[in-house]
Symmetry: C2
Subunit: 562 residues, 2 copies
């Protein structure tokens, strides 16, 4: 595809997945790492360099015959990179300056703050003394985090200072390292996002995900993050602005904290593919690995390449960590391989406790189904997938009525939805008595994931039509029969809408048909509902045929007696 | 994942993609082929065998330390495989017996016929004489095909005998080969399908695709094949039955002819991954390559692993063939890389005219968008993707009416659908005058891809309700006003349906609202329609606000004068 040769510092799993993407594009890669590392295993080149990515001579050797260097780990020797760049003019992405900023977590935070990006408040230690930490403690309060500025990952390099009494042991634990203190951040969720920066400085973000850590190591990633659209929007903006502040190009992993207030802070940034982006291999148009290769070789990044392949899917990524008992983690992989639409990626590494051995991507059209699969794969819980693929957590249909006096009529429809397993909500919204509530309801329904609204009303029945006037969703109207006029007043109020705003009207008091119509409408988005409807209609037919049979068998007089 | 070591005879692109899948599962592979072939490039093993897959000694060497052998090409030495199997007891999938049957195309056909599978009629030549061929010509008629029984692929080994006068040149062209004559088969389309057979003999089929050949080499593959559900069903059954007839396990490519009569014949079978299945890498839950690895190592093949990742996507696979000018085919690949949701796979082979250098998978939610992308990639035509992602070729909404006298009312709705860009069909279906036609219409609508039906009727308006009784799709009823009763007769006939069968009723004569409701309903499956509806409602609001402004400005008296 491209004649450029890419040299990669580091040959772990991230390098391996970069190599896989490059292989597909006939882009030549060379790896600098020791031995037959994960990445080298899938590239039969004889040009790999056996050595350390912290060693100038090895980096020099790698750079020979390469057009661009990149890293799969930020703990490289930046000065060596700069030396080699000066000597040869080779392109290096991420640029050494960015790697230097990022590999020192305190410099990274300072840089972000200077660019107006919200981060957790931090103060660096000048001499790693108890007095310094105590002074910070008086400012920040306890608990607070003592952190190593460099070489910290997967929780290594962090120490929680619970009270003043812990300060000495914390300093002892992290002694001889450059340190800083971080204010305690009582976040509710950890979010992350992969952001690609092109050589021209354009940034493209993948979906916002939620990461869940166990013993400080990434355990699972939920895609998209199950948080509100507002939070998603804020997180995207924050992460994109953060990545705009770094020169150079390539992919970046951005980890964030979501606070109880809804505010979001950047936790830290990785200038390379990231564990929280492994799901992109199966769930997105272009994987984080191919995106990185494209960005650093200046190949095109076309429209929507970071998008989910299908906006209605959910994904969970589960890390495969080495078990305490060698190779026992493969049992989990075997369960994954039995699971519909779960894909296993192993990295060719030998089993060691807590080592990242591989990952599993789980895809389904609902988060609850993904979780079911996760429970089977991770905990060996029985897999009982619902045949309905929509999220059962969120209502798809909203039943509203003008008054609780409509409930006896409307509840019959609710029971039908229950029978079909359609997730729904039911409440009172009155056009005439709660007009503001009605407006809010209509305006927000679509964003809440509602697909169809059933509105029941009697008399001068305005509710269905007014709601239809303020949403683009299909609205089904149920005329409820009042004490006069036999319901014809409601029927005409609902059905005789002016051109422009349709209400799907059903028979007077017939909320059953409203619910059945809602199921048919959901079928446009998901055939499962149509199949269930076909089954329902078959059952109905059989029931009538049974009655006919009985009527013919016992005769109409006996039948009437029953 | 699995401790079995898989030896692969052949190291071309099919072997390469098998190795990629095995790498992801930590399954060790060893390749038998000459040099640093495509497959060896992405496996840094030192255990590969440099030699020919037709050579006993090399196969013996490959089998050493392997648990199972497989092939990426059927032109291997079957006797050698059998010898090695006898010597070592090694598992070989596909089983040698199957490879032998398949590598001789005439034996393959005989085998299929013996198992009741429809194939093109063929007769083998005993002595390759003109007289033999002439006798067959008198039976089959001209033109007919002279074919080599063995070592024929990509059209090499075929010769069309147009008339008696061609016989000698045909025999000369294919001289010294075992030959057979095939009756001329005037097919309308070529179909293909990948079928996986498990060790237990269960068969699983991927989607039926259409293959298009150019100069006898596979050019493009269309997924799913744009043919009727009946043809899809027949083709699946035929292919599955064919593969059931072969012992052993693994993946098979089945090529078929669709005849003008709608009948389907098997053309030929490949006992390995196949060019027509490359789209599975991006479009299906599990790729043909991983499926083969799983089948031959007896790993699980879970529910739906052969399905499209999303039932509403379409895919086109385009082969990248070496250009007459070396490397010029990369220009096409560059355009692919610029194209949203197109993925390039190159095989690490050096450019030679007509050589299979790679392939490109194009995905979109409509066939027409896929074709647009194909035209850009292949022919460098300007890319102008429609914003509507549903296939524009197939109607999504069906407008029916009981009589042409309803057309003036119903055509207003049709114009609305046109304005929104909704593909629709419009016809007359009368409940009372064409009851059988109505039944056929209702029964077939869903399978034809219709998502929503609009039915208009007047008087004792039965059409909407009767259609709703025979389909699971949502049906919108438009009461058409007749000469008496002001349309209330139609309204009540349509809206007052019994419990169980809903009709979404709109106002009398208001086909506008029926069409707008249909657009809202389509929005459940595709948000684009909801966005268009929001735009429409905004425009409507602005129009009224404009009128209000004018009314306030010029006063009601002047306004009335206009």
């Amino acid at each position: 595809m491209d004649k450029q040769v890419v040299g990669i510092l580091g040959g772990g799993q991230l390098g391996r997945m970069l190599v896989e993407s490059a292989n597909r594009l006939n882009i030549t890669t060379k790896i600098l790492d020791e031995g037959l590392s994960s990445a080298k295993q899938i590239n039969a080149s004889t040009e790999h360099v056996d050595g350390s990515f912290k060693d100038l001579a090895s980096i020099r050797k790698l750079a020979k015959d390469c057009d661009v260097l990149t890293v799969e780990i930020e703990h490289v020797d930046v000065s060596a990179l700069e030396t080699v760049q000066k000597e040869t003019g080779i392109k290096i992405y991420p640029v050494p300056e960015t790697i230097r900023l990022i590999q020192d977590k305190f410099l990274q935070k300072k840089h972000l703050m200077q660019h107006g990006i919200d981060v957790v408040e931090s103060i660096d230690l000048k001499a790693n003394t108890k007095e310094e930490v105590l002074a910070i403690g008086q400012k920040f309060g306890f608990p607070m985090m003592l952190k190593s500025r460099t070489l910290a990952y997967d929780g290594r390099g962090n120490y929680v200072i619970k009270t003043e009494d812990n300060i000495e042991e914390a300093l002892e634990f992290l002694k001889d390292r450059p340190l800083y203190v971080e204010k305690w951040c009582p976040f509710t969720n950890e979010l992350a996002v992969m952001v690609v920066r092109s050589i021209e400085g354009e940034v493209f973000s993948y979906p916002i995900v939620e990461t869940v850590h166990k013993d400080n190591i990434c355990h699972t990633v939920y895609v998209p993050a199950p948080v509100s659209q507002t939070v998603i929007g804020k997180a995207e903006l924050l992460a994109r602005n953060a990545i705009k502040s770094f020169p150079g190009c390539g992919i970046f992993g951005v980890e964030m904290f979501l606070l109880p207030s809804g505010d979001i802070l950047i936790n830290e940034i990785a200038p390379r593919p990231h564990n929280s982006g492994h799901y992109t291999i199966d769930a997105c148009v272009t994987s984080q690995f191919e995106a990185h290769i494209r960005a650093i070789t200046n190949l095109p990044l076309p429209k929507d390449f970071t998008k989910l392949t299908n906006p209605s899917i959910n994904a969970i990524m589960l890390n495969v960590l080495g078990d305490d008992e060698k190779d026992k983690e493969l049992e989990m992989c075997k369960r994954a391989i039995e699971t519909p639409n779960a894909t296993v990626y192993l990295y060719g590494k030998s089993s060691r406790p807590k080592r990242k051995m591989g990952h599993i991507n789980i895809i389904d059209s609902s988060l609850s189904n993904c979780k079911e699969k996760l429970n089977y794969i991770y905990k060996n819980e029985k897999l009982q997938l619902s045949s309905i693929v929509e999220p059962m957590d969120k209502p798809l249909v909203s039943i509203i009525m003008g008054s609780d006096s409509d409930l006896p009529v409307m509840s019959v429809g609710a029971n039908i939805l229950k029978k079909f397993g359609v997730p729904f909500e039911l409440t009172i919204v009155s056009a005439h008595r709660t007009p503001i509530r009605m407006q809010k309801f209509a305006f927000e329904a679509q964003a809440r994931g509602i697909k169809c609204i059933i509105a029941g009303a009697g008399g001068a029945a305005h509710l269905p039509g007014m709601v239809a006037a303020m949403t683009s969703l299909p609205v089904i109207g149920v005329p409820v029969k009042g004490s006069t006029l036999d319901g014809v007043d409601s029927l005409h109020s609902i059905v005789q809408m002016p051109r422009g705003i349709p209400v799907a009207t059903v028979a007077i008091n017939n909320s059953t048909n409203a619910a059945l119509l809602a199921v048919r409408i959901l079928g446009v988005g998901n055939e499962t509902w149509l199949n269930k409807m076909t089954q329902y209609m078959n059952d109905m037919e059989n029931e009538v045929l049974g009655k006919a049979d009985r009527l013919e068998t016992i005769g109409y007089e006996k039948y009437l007696e029953k």
